[in-house]
Amino acid sequence: MTSQTAIRVRGIEKSFKDQHVLQGVSFDVPAGSIFALLGSNGAGKTTLVRILSTLLKADSGTAAVHGFDVAGQPREVRDAISLTGQFAAVDEVLTGRENLVLVAKLRHLSDPAVIADNLLDRFSLTDAGNRRASTYSGGMRRRLDLAMSLIGTPPIIFLDEPTTGLDPQARIEVWQTIRDLARGGTTVLLTTQYLDEAEQLADRIAILHQGTIIQSGTLTELKQLLPPAEVTYVEKQPSLEDVFLALVGEQTGSDSSTITTVENGTAEDGTVPGRRDPR
């Protein structure tokens, strides 16, 4: 296969009883990019991720992941991917370290203990490594979940709503992890219902609505769909999130209350999107 396209989806359809959830979805994800599938609840994002990660069979259409057909070569696909589902898939009874060792062993890697220690360190979980996952906070659990997904460095990672239910700090941590992954060459397909998440992270965005991709492209391309940019001056009020993060001492790199140029006079609420890329 060419290394250019990591995921290739063509005309995928899926129905549950009388619900036609996916009605011919097609898109390509270039290798090494972050691709966001944006859609509201019930748009079919999870169904699509489940099909791409071989958990569910499509009614029609084809999908190739890392060059392998999801229906015909599921085992090869599973070797190339890692799925982080909507709900943190960690074993609550096991400790964080044991969870990592478990996945490393199931991926048949040598030195599971070393892998576990490295990941605990990388995800700031070393102190909690010997505690049961049931004692973890939502953010820690998500980090452990992500760490488990990175074991064996699969070239493609699916993240189904990775930040749903997380507090703002945990959310920023997860974003940073996703950026680091992409920088390392991993292809990331993430689903989200948060517009700012797609805007912050994604190289390309596809909008899934009522079973089809109604629009896709880079953020710039999507912005060009709207009337040309006007230059207006607005006073930037700090968003509640800026206030919250400033009060609890989290650095976002966002400087509040300055006059900022807003492109594309469509920022209806008169503010600049509060979070800046903390890169």
């Binding site: 071989t54 958990l55 090869e76 898939a89 478990l102 996945v103 199931l106």
Partner: protein, 254 residues
């Protein structure tokens, strides 16, 4: 691409054994009810029951009690399997390049280990209560073999329940009829003391053949044809339950 059925099963069995070690109450709960029954039948009802033999009542009753122990123990297998399905961990396993059947086999092996521990505890209490047998090592192995087969058969039924349950309660409810089956058998009273249709049912259901076999083994008596009837039931139930469980599992993961 090679499959790693054995290795993956070992890793996943290790995982669920850790679950049991961290909540040993599941083993204790499994053993407590049969022990209470044993105490009650021996010291409350037993004096009024005429078994037609002069062996101590605890000797008469122990085989049935062991089956009740296992029948209540497998409910936890259904429960643990159901919880795996509910949480995301099952999907994580399914999206990984592992041998898919190993997920079920790990639960079956864990069930065997947990139930053996419960059975050993119950036999220990029975010994304190005066249970005696002159059974040789070979006979003990035969007893263990039958109990293992019984556990495997019921565990695959538990897998069906765990895979198809909609609620936690539903996952373990299947075990109630299994726990009651020994009461309508030769486990506590001779079947000829029961009214006609009940006696007929008791004589033709699997528990009676298994109980009679175990009792004969413990008493160093010839087992006669009972052992073959018992084995036929156990193997038959295992094969059917296994086939149904695998069919449900396939439908679930494809």
């Amino acid at each position: 691409m090679t499959t790693h059925v054995l290795g993956d099963t070992a890793v996943l069995t290790d995982r669920s054994l850790r679950h049991i070690l961290r909540s040993p109450d599941t083993i204790i709960t499994t053993a407590v009810t049969p022990i209470a029954l044993m105490l009650m039948f021996t010291y409350v009802f037993g004096g009024a029951i005429d078994t037609g033999t002069d062996e101590p009542y605890v000797d008469y009753m122990l085989p049935g009690i062991l089956l009740i122990t296992i029948a209540s123990g497998v409910a936890y297998t259904a429960y643990r399997l159901f919880l795996d399905l509910q949480g995301g961990i099952f999907e994580r396993f399914q999206s990984m390049p592992i041998a898919r059947s190993s997920v079920l086999w790990a639960h079956v092996l864990t069930s065997l280990a947990a139930n053996l521990v419960s059975v050993v505890i119950v036999i220990g209490v029975a010994l304190i209560m005066g249970f005696r047998t002159g059974a040789s090592v070979a006979v003990w192995l035969a007893v263990a073999g039958i109990l293992i087969l019984f556990t495997v058969a019921l565990t695959w039924i538990a897998v069906i329940a765990g895979l198809s349950a909609k609620t936690v309660d539903g996952a373990s409810a299947f075990s109630y009829p299994l726990i009651f089956l020994p009461f309508i058998s030769s486990a506590f009273v001779p079947t000829d003391s029961m009214p006609g249709p009940v006696a007929w049912f008791a004589e033709h259901q699997p528990v009676t053949a298994i109980v009679d076999t175990l009792r004969a083994l413990f008493a160093e008596q010839p087992v006669g044809s009972d052992i073959w009837i018992a084995l036929a039931w156990l193997v038959g139930i295992t094969i059917i339950a296994y086939a149904i469980a695998i069919a449900i599992y396939r439908r679930k993961i494809s």
